[in-house]
């Protein structure tokens, strides 16, 4: 019987064929935890579960990304304790302040790979699906249990298929596809289910992560892009201990994609949503719900105070480069602020090598430390009451980025750049002419 990618990965983890609807207890390949939930995870692990050691210090990734660098003495103390705990537990993979957001960092490091089952203390752990992994978010207690035992329990999910056809028009990209899917599926359209993204083989891994991270915004337990080859240029270096990836076709590197992980004809999908990219317009998610999406052309003129480019959804190198292409030779409009927070240090380094960073700075952008930034409303650009933000992130919930009286619009990096030039939400082609 043909299986979905989620069924294949969970069958591999379970060591027997499993089908949607079954409950399984499985070994995980990797556990990710970040600074924000680390105090409670460590407390539950030791004080409540009574475990002295983590199950495997090499299969745990600890990332300091949620408030990085620390904004308060309190944060600094929690981070100090976290680093000490990492040393005590002999955990080998700590990605500290400035390395970036957990999901893209673990992909760059080669820790998140096709076919893996990854649990993370962050809802956007669906992002590991950008390389064909089953990534899913969990809370402190589930993560503490996984740290103690190397296992978790899961219900094998049904799968919703998003089938894209054609190619994007100029100024339209992966974010628009993701928001369009949210508009079709709504905020709970894939609850308890996996989302498979088809017809996107031409997208870079960064763009695939845009789709994979947005999968949780329709309730997805996982969001998986079939791990096919990509024509993305490789800029990863072997400096900083980064994994050396082979060739531009890195998803086709020998052994990178397991033999057993393939899209199978006849796999059972609970629903298929078809999206015609040739007809797709820039999509805007209007306050205060992610699935509250309209075509940019149907939006009345919205003046903004701040444009924020960043997050695990749209802070990748390709996102900054796309914004730079629009900002080249132009300036941020008077009275408007442009904040750019790269998703990872590697994305920032690439931007510094190819001129992207220079273009952004020349246009008047402020650059933040790679990490989650203001996405959780804790530091690095939180919003005042009545401020309007054009955000390339994944959530526009009331109060998400600061004041509950602020308004957050979600859009692509291309729309963000065009909006920075004019001061109101703008189609990229309007600026490019």
């Amino acid at each position: 019987m043909a299986q979905t990618l989620a069924e294949q990965i969970l069958s591999h983890a379970a060591g027997r064929p499993v089908r949607a609807g079954e409950n399984v207890v499985v070994h995980v390949d990797l556990v990710m935890m970040h600074d924000s939930l680390s105090p409670s995870i460590i407390k539950i692990l030791h004080n409540e579960l009574g475990a002295e050691r983590v199950w495997d210090p090499e299969k745990i990734a600890v990332v300091v990304d949620h408030v990085a660098p620390a904004a308060t003495v309190q944060n600094a103390e929690y981070q100090y304790n976290l680093r000490r705990w990492v040393r005590e537990q002999k955990i080998t993979h700590l990605y500290d302040v400035g390395r970036g957001i957990s999901h893209p960092v673990l992909v760059e490091e080669g820790m998140a790979r096709p076919g893996m089952l990854i649990v993370g203390s962050d809802s956007h752990s669906t992002g590991y699906g950008s390389v064909g992994a089953f990534g899913t978010g969990m809370g402190s207690t589930d993560i503490a249990l996984a740290l103690a035992t190397g296992k978790t329990w899961l219900r094998v999910p049904e799968t919703v298929r998003v089938q894209a056809r054609g190619r994007f028009r100029p100024g339209v990209g992966a974010k628009d596809l993701g928001l369009r899917a949210a508009r079709e599926l709504t905020a709970d359209g894939a609850t308890y289910q996996s989302v498979e993204w088809h017809g996107v083989d031409f997208l870079s891994v960064g763009d695939r992560m845009t789709l994979a991270t947005l999968s949780i915004e329709v309730g997805g337990k996982a969001g998986i892009v079939p791990p096919t080859s990509t024509q993305e240029p490789v800029a990863l270096s072997s400096t900083n201990g980064l994994r050396q990836l082979v060739g531009s076709d890195w998803l086709n590197a020998p052994g990178y994609v397991p033999e057993w992980l393939r899209v199978e004809e006849g796999a059972n999908y609970s629903r298929t949503v078809e999206i015609d990219l040739d007809q797709l317009n820039p999509q805007i998610s209007v306050p205060h719900y992610v699935d509250n999406v309209v075509d940019l052309g149907d939006l009345e003129r919205v003046a903004v105070d701040v444009i924020y480019i960043g997050t695990c959804t749209n802070g990748h190198h390709g996102d900054m480069a796309a914004a730079a292409q629009i900002l080249r030779g132009r300036r941020v409009a008077p009275g408007v602020r442009l904040l750019v927070v790269p998703a990872t240090s590697e994305a920032l380094r690439q931007a510094s090598l190819d001129g992207t960073l220079d273009t952004l700075l020349a246009a008047g952008a402020a650059i933040g430390t790679p990490g989650c930034g203001a996405c959780i409303g804790r530091h690095m650009g939180v919003l005042a009451p009545d401020e309007v933000c054009l955000f390339t992130g994944n959530r526009n919930f009331r109060g998400r980025m600061g004041s509950p009286k602020a308004n957050i619009y979600l859009a692509s990096p291309e729309v963000a750049a065009a909006t920075a030039v004019t001061g109101y939400i703008t189609h990229p082609q309007e600026v490019l002419g």
């Binding site: 105090p39 579960l49 978010g137 308890y192 939180v382």
Partner: protein
């Protein structure tokens, strides 16, 4: 007698506890009890009584993985949450903490502030003399509830819910 707190559809975890009020941002986790619905319903934390019921529309708890959202509700001793559909991570977190969640749509039946009778072990709610039987959760999840959450369950049985005892 429990009071009913009515909420709409798609209540997200930023509404339950904004990220700015995470324990990570506080002096101690204990302070969290002051902040459930701090911005969405500022009167909630100070007036809710142990055993009160949250009755909401679909997709309750959508958004982030923050366990401190259901933890804040546990700290004020919410009796149960009743919604037609729960977001997955929230449901797991609530289950793990031992907060009873029932899948039913009662937002059109009950009113905000209404006082009802509720027997959590039977899932039986009595409002205006009318009995409403809530659907019980699957057996293996009920075991976790009965143990008081996943940590006491795991410590008692040495296994995950649904896992064979020998493995």
């Amino acid at each position: 007698m429990p009071r009913v707190w009515i909420f709409g559809a798609n209540v997200n975890t930023d509404q339950i506890v904004p990220g700015r009020y995470a324990p990570y941002m506080l002096k101690s986790e204990d302070e969290l009890r002051k902040y459930p619905f701090v911005e969405a319903r500022p009167e909630f934390a100070s007036t809710t009584q142990p055993g009160d019921l949250i009755v909401a529309g679909p997709n309750f708890g959508c958004g982030s993985s923050r366990e401190y959202a259901p933890l804040a509700l546990k700290m004020v001793n919410i009796g149960a949450i009743i919604a037609p559909l729960f977001a997955r991570i929230f449901y797991r977190n609530a289950l793990n903490l031992g907060i009873p969640c029932f899948e039913a749509d009662l937002t059109g039946v009950l009113t905000d502030g209404q006082i009802v009778d509720f027997d959590v072990s039977k899932g039986l709610l009595v409002a205006n003399g009318q009995e409403i039987q809530l659907p019980p959760p699957p057996t293996f999840l009920q075991e976790v509830w009965n143990a008081g959450g996943i940590v006491p369950f795991y410590k008692q049985y040495g296994r995950f819910p649904g896992e064979a005892a020998s493995s």
